[in-house]
Amino acid sequence: MRVTLFDYGAGNLHSLAKSLATAPGAEVRVQEDPLRALDTDVLVLPGVGAFGAAMARLEPGRDAMRAALERGLPCLGICLGMQLLFEGSDEGDGVGLGYFQGRVTRLTARRVPEMGWNQVDDDRTLSSARLGTVYYAHSYVCRATETSWVTGWTTHEGDRFPAAVRRGNVVGVQFHPEKSSSAGVRFVQAFLQEVSS
């Protein structure tokens, strides 16, 4: 199974690449070209950086990526990578992939960014791995207009936001599974297993 990390130049991908590589049969590669990144069995949108800069890098492949997702290409979007799956963001310019309806806005809380371990409630993202306490490092969240696609929620101070969304084989998570210890690694493995079978 070819698992491709789309690298939009935002930061280190070491932990994420290694967590994906723990899944049986996963061949992890990194690709900087958004069109070439689509020649894969599973696409991963990593989660470091800012929306505007990332979307600028993704722009040349945006329509093709959206079409590939609609045709059923499995995809895991993490943190900023999840936000790219929505329509747009208050953090920066650029049109998102629009696979999920809704806009990315700033957390409404005293402590922003939210940094640390928080609980996922009512998780039903994957059938074989339940999310518990996971690691967050973010200032923005995805306000999904279609809440039936929200498969888990987290609350920071008074702000309840989507921890995870899923439509078909496309999953977005606001937390960092690659920093969420064994529970996060199990989640990544379960995702790859579920979308490849």
Binding site: M115, G116, W117, N118, A137, S181, S182
Partner: protein, 253 residues
């Protein structure tokens, strides 16, 4: 609701974990990657490498070490010690660190915090403050506690946050290594005036001390080092006490 965090600190020098009393009589105690992984397995919420390398040659091994660790550690990794420039921070992040703590360089050049926050985001900028009690106040020291500054610790903490620090690592020089408990008054004085997480550091001698840092000091996280390395207690034992005390923490299943 965010959990309180237990952060395990490892002193590294020349790519190895070392231990000593006040930088003297250092001895090799193991491989940083293996120790970090062991603490993750025991339930540590975060690992910090404090680089105490004395030479540029020794320091060069840090980036390789950070990368090897990031490839095997699946909890956040922070790096501190000798970070002087925006380039140093960028290098640490590219190697795989999630956060970088800046101490003496921020005092010498406060604009460094803002420059790093603008370039990489506040979430990876930790201001590290070493403070020593003087009557009812605390004075900021730099260079591993050897050099006094004119700064008041509480005022400096606020300024660090205003300049872009996303977290504060607050070390009591008086308590450090004494194992008599954290400086709770210092921790409380700072945590009361900033909106970013405060990591209490210096003085942990028991699980009860960690609990006190949270309940009385108002800390969001507590840094623990020697008592774990010496086997006086374990991450699991500390977390059990915290849980029994009604604190919200991450359980390892």
């Amino acid at each position: 609701m965010l959990t309180r965090r237990l952060v395990v600190c490892l002193d590294v020098k020349g790519g190895r974990v070392v231990k000593g009393v006040r930088f003297e009589g250092l001895r090799d105690v193991g491989d940083p990657v293996e120790l970090a992984r062991r603490y993750e397995a025991e339930g540590a919420d975060e690992v910090t490498f404090l680089d105490i390398s004395a030479s540029a040659e020794e320091r060069e091994t840090l980036w390789d070490l950070v990368q090897r660790t990031a490839e095997q550690l699946f909890i956040p990794l922070a790096v501190g010690g000798g970070v002087r420039t925006v380039e140093d921070v960028g290098r640490a992040l590219r190697a795989g660190a999630d956060k970088v703590s800046i101490n003496s360089a921020a005092v010498a050049q406060p604009s460094l915090l803002a420059a790093c926050a603008e370039r990489f985001g506040s979430q990876c900028v930790v201001a590290s403050i070493d403070a020593k009690r003087e009557g009812e106040r605390w004075r900021v020291y730099t260079h591993g506690g050897r050099k006094a500054t004119d700064l008041d610790a509480v005022a400096w903490a606020r300024e660090c946050v205003a300049r872009g620090a996303g977290e504060l690592l607050l070390t009591s020089i008086d308590q450090d290594g004494a194992r008599q408990g954290y400086d709770l008054a210092l921790t409380r004085a700072v945590s009361d005036v900033v909106d970013v997480p405060v990591i209490a550091s210096g003085g942990a001698g028991s699980a009860e001390h960690v609990r006190d840092a949270f309940q009385q000091g108002g800390a969001d996280a507590a840094l623990v080092a020697g008592i774990l390395h010496d086997g006086l207690t374990t991450v699991g034992a500390i977390k059990t006490l915290l849980r029994e005390s009604g604190l919200h923490i991450r359980s390892v299943t």
